[in-house]
Amino acid sequence: MNILSQILEIILNRSVIAAVIVPGVLTALVLVILIIWVERKIAARVQMRIGPLYVTRRLGGILQLVADAIRFLVSEPIVPATTDKLFYVMMPILLLLLSLLPVAVVPASQSLIVIKTEYGLLAFIALAAITPMVIMLAGWASNNKFSYIGGLREGFMLLSYEVYLFMSLLAIAILYGTLDFIRIINSQEGFWGILLNPIAALSFFIAMLTSTSRFPFEIPDAESEIVMGPFTEYNSIMYGLVMGANYFRLYVLSLVFTDVFLGGWLLPFKIPIPNFVITIAKTFIVMIVAVFLRAVYPRYRIDQALVIGWEKLFPLASLSVLISVLLKGVGI
């Protein structure tokens, strides 16, 4: 029975729970399925429609995404003859893994964190910066003209948003004087980060939209211009993976946004629910705001997005760093 207890110990280990359940794979999966449904429903609501319904009439079509996912799972995988086969097949898997990987250093509650580290913020930035490369590689491996252009665009966007993503997090690090997520959250008691430094929150939010290719910065896979961008050739399960990866990335970034700007599990009042539920709920709200913009905005052109990035958001992010320094100087 020794082995069994050991296995149990491993299973019940906090890190394992964090990796597998909250805030790891399982939560991510459920939230992603929910968010796509919410996205379609909200868009439909704004557009005076109903949206997905017939799939499960009683539940308002909430299983639409499950149906889509199963369909992708069973449909015939095609590897086009002109692709670089190894990379073509590898990229979706890599993309999915790497999109979710940064969650390892982001906590959902005091103890639900996979890797407890002092340098969480730094590790997050490092891990989050890998995915765009994979997207570019995927575009290149597809050997399709649209994928090629899409990959190039992803590269251009990367140059722009990565800077102010980094700077807004830098502002937060300066503000709280630490790179540890849990300490950042704990020091938000009373005042959430978004209140102390709204400009950093704004530039992080826009960087989040850009890096997950949400409207109005849906540029690397702009549908009416370059079909599906880097993922034009991907089909069946592989397309399901890349589509999921995009939403996973949104989830991870939203989780960071919650932790850094919305005080993680902190609430101004006390209610008897577990901490991680509060965090996940906040994350979900952030995700809803991010996907809601689809219903409102058209998309920018790539050069305009770059101009916005460098001429508007870069100074704004710099300003947020300045604000943090000032706040620190005043002694908050």
Binding site: L53, Y54, V55, A67, I70, E76, I78, N235
Partner: protein, 158 residues
């Protein structure tokens, strides 16, 4: 006793529950490809609008043939277009379905006798014909609902 054995047999050997799940998922996730073959495309576009809202059925017009599993032929098929349609159809993943919309793609409609038209059935294996010139959007949605029924019964899932 026999009942249980039969049920287990069905579950394990005939895999009916799995098949039903597959049928359910494929039926409610028909993604037609953006391929406008002719003027009925106007009604196809109207089908997605707030009045008819084809998204209720899980229909999501999608961009690239690689990710889609249905092709809706909107109206007449010229010789030039038929080649493109065939090419798109070949690129799509199995299982795939074809709905032919409008009188023109059935038999020519008002353009009967035209020198540049061919019939849809000469190019693709059509699953459903929607009559009308042009068919009303409700008609097309009805064809999709019927196609879903057909899929749930196991069409194209072998």
């Amino acid at each position: 006793m026999m009942k249980y054995i039969r049920r287990i047999f069905r579950a394990l050997v005939l895999k009916t529950p799995i098949k039903r799940l597959l049928g359910w998922s494929v039926a409610y996730s028909i993604w037609p490809v953006h391929m406008v073959t002719s003027c009925c495309g106007v009604e196809f576009a109207a089908m997605a609008d707030p009045l008819f809202d084809s998204e209720r059925t899980g229909l999501l017009p999608f961009t690239s043939p690689r990710q889609t599993d249905a092709i809706i032929l909107e109206g007449s098929l010229s010789r030039k277009m038929a080649r493109a349609v065939r090419l798109v159809y070949e690129q799509m993943q199995e299982p795939k379905y074809v709905i032919s919309m409008g009188a023109c793609s059935m038999d020519g409609g008002v353009f009967y006798n035209s020198y540049n038209l061919i019939r849809a059935r000469e190019v693709l294996p059509v699953d459903f014909y929607v009559p009308g010139c042009p068919p009303r959007p409700e008609g097309v949605i009805r064809s999709i609902v019927l196609l879903q029924k057909k899929i749930k019964e196991g069409k194209g899932l072998e």
